[in-house]
């Protein structure tokens, strides 16, 4: 498909475990964003990748969160030692030329 894909679509984990969330952006898009949407909240910016530049990590809520983007394409968001407050929908968006972001369907994370 031509859209942004994310996996897994749903993830249930136990408190203290590590999780990895994957994002496959639209081919050729140089910018990639990760957002988090907690229940009843808006989209909270987490991290931004642009080409080969150093990522903007200013939105990561703690050092338990990290992300990487390999080969300028696929991105992985890792949450270590998950906490119940990490439960949210994690959305990835890619962006090419222009201001429009294209979002994936999200990963729904539930930490028990």
């Amino acid at each position: 498909g031509a859209g942004v894909s994310q996996s897994p679509s749903n993830k249930v984990t136990e408190k203290g475990k590590d999780v990895e969330l994957r994002c496959d952006p639209i081919s050729g898009h140089t910018a990639l964003y990760w957002y988090r949407q907690s229940l009843g909240q808006g989209l909270e910016f987490l991290i931004y990748f642009q080409g080969n530049s150093a990522p903007d990590k200013s939105g990561l809520p703690s050092d338990r969160f990290s992300a990487e983007r390999t080969g300028g394409s696929v991105s992985t968001l890792t949450i270590q030692r998950t906490q119940q407050e990490d439960s949210a929908v994690y959305l990835c968006a890619s962006q090419g030329v222009g201001e429009t972001q294209y979002f994936g369907p999200g990963t729904r994370l539930l930490v028990l």
Binding site: Y35, G42, Y48, S58, E99, T100, Q101, Y102, F103
Partner: protein, 113 residues
Amino acid sequence: DQQVKQNSPSLSVQEGRISILNCDYTNSMFDYFLWYKKYPAEGPTFLISISSIKDKNEDGRFTVFLNKSAKHLSLHIVPSQPGDSAVYFCAARLPSGTYKYIFGTGTRLKVLA
């Protein structure tokens, strides 16, 4: 500190009538504004945008108005259709260093048939 605010969490409108969704912001440095629509279990999809140098942009049934002096933008949908029922997010771009987008908390629109 919520830089982009959507103060109405929900809105119900009769089919065929106008839907007006509002968004207020505090940062005068925002240079671009966008509206996204989100259906359940899907990611947001782009709807319409406006540059800060404009005051109106129209695309079919959708029009966005920007009032910079009031730091307010609105999305008008005319006529409203049941398929428009979704959560609408406004977003603003901050052009400092990397492009960062600040999203509002969303307004759930329900169009009644």
